[in-house]
Amino acid sequence: MSGVAVVHASSWGAALVRISPYTFSAIGIAISIGVSVLGAAWGIYITGSSLIGAAIEAPRITSKNLISVIFCEAVAIYGVIVAIILQTKLESVPSSKMYDAESLRAGYAIFASGIIVGFANLVCGLCVGIIGSSCALSDAQNSTLFVKILVIEIFGSALGLFGVIVGIIMSAQATWPTK
């Protein structure tokens, strides 16, 4: 049997398998870049507004604390990398095979990979942003604190990397049926 999905007409599975795998793939890729950039932007504005506010009285902190903004930007770059990897996994299959079990699985794999990367980068960007904002505020008071809080920020940015690693491993599951 070629793996055609056969389900009972009255189960929730019947509704799920009728959604094209391209829907899931498209939303997955869009989430991987869109929600990652959302996390990066959230982090940038939390850090940026605190940094600029603290720098009114202590303008010396500006150039050093831009590194927190760069950590948040790296989160968006993780999202771009995974989105580009996922779109190379996207293949067009003949419509006779579009609802096969194998192509449904490929669609779900791309969707899951996108969600993994997107939401991991969302929380990573948020984390790095909040830490960066405290880093700027404390650096304005006492410049010895900058390096110590930067170490905490490095731990926070590892969260995004975890998401990227798992997302890339998941994307290897996205094999579409060949003709």
Partner: protein, 211 residues
């Protein structure tokens, strides 16, 4: 209960209809004023924007190819509004700094241009008379638009809030102008990443080999 085999309905015929419907809705939404959203705390309006758009796309289960322009419009509007309020408040005390502080407003407007680029690329790509437009193409366009749109929305929020804080701080401490511009450039780059991924994805749309 009897089992049901998959029907051969592919949905290809409906792809352009929803694409153009999405373009019309996008224009209406991006022109509509979102001032009411700004009265809520930032994260609430963000969740509202994102959930409205995602709900719209997922409920359709069909490509809604230019719906993303809603998000880019929201991003540009938020950025312009939020930093504009900062400029206005700051300008009361330091009117000579107003023209210098227009920079965040301009950067937020550039996001609209990114959305326009992707919209033109997508809508010239929907031409079923010249080239068959399959479901794969429709979803590639949807993904391209959503990627660019969500990125533009987020970048617009970042530009707005950083611009607001920046112009107010610049009025009190002139040394901060360069720092504000640097942070705004990082925020603008986020929308650029979305544009790049959007262009790459929409170039996949012509590669469908359905039969």
């Amino acid at each position: 209960p009897e089992s049901a085999e998959m029907s051969t309905f592919s949905g290809d015929e409906t792809a352009p209809f929803f694409g153009f419907l999405g373009a019309a809705a996008a224009l209406v939404f991006s022109c509509k004023s979102f001032d009411s959203l700004l009265r809520f705390p930032d994260f609430v309006s963000l969740i509202l924007c994102v959930s409205v758009v995602l709900m719209f796309c997922i409920l359709c289960c069909f490509p809604d190819v230019v719906e993303f322009t809603v998000e880019i419009g929201m991003g540009a509007a938020y950025g312009t509004a939020k930093s504009g309020v900062g400029v206005a408040s700051m300008g009361v005390m330091r009117p000579e700094l107003v023209m210098k502080s227009i920079v965040p407003v301009v950067m937020a407007g550039v996001l609209g241009i990114y959305g326009l680029i992707i919209a033109v690329i997508i809508s010239t790509g929907i031409n079923p008379k010249a080239k068959s437009y399959y479901l794969f193409d429709g979803y590639a366009h949807l993904s391209s638009g959503l990627a660019c749109g969500l990125a533009g929305l987020s970048a617009g929020m970042a530009i707005g809030i950083v611009g607001d804080a920046g112009v107010r701080a610049n009025a009190q401490q002139p040394k901060l102008f360069v720092g504000m511009i640097l942070i705004l450039i990082f925020a603008e780059a986020l929308a650029l990443y979305g544009l790049i991924v959007g262009i790459i994805l929409s170039s996949r749309a012509g590669q469908s080999r359905a039969e």
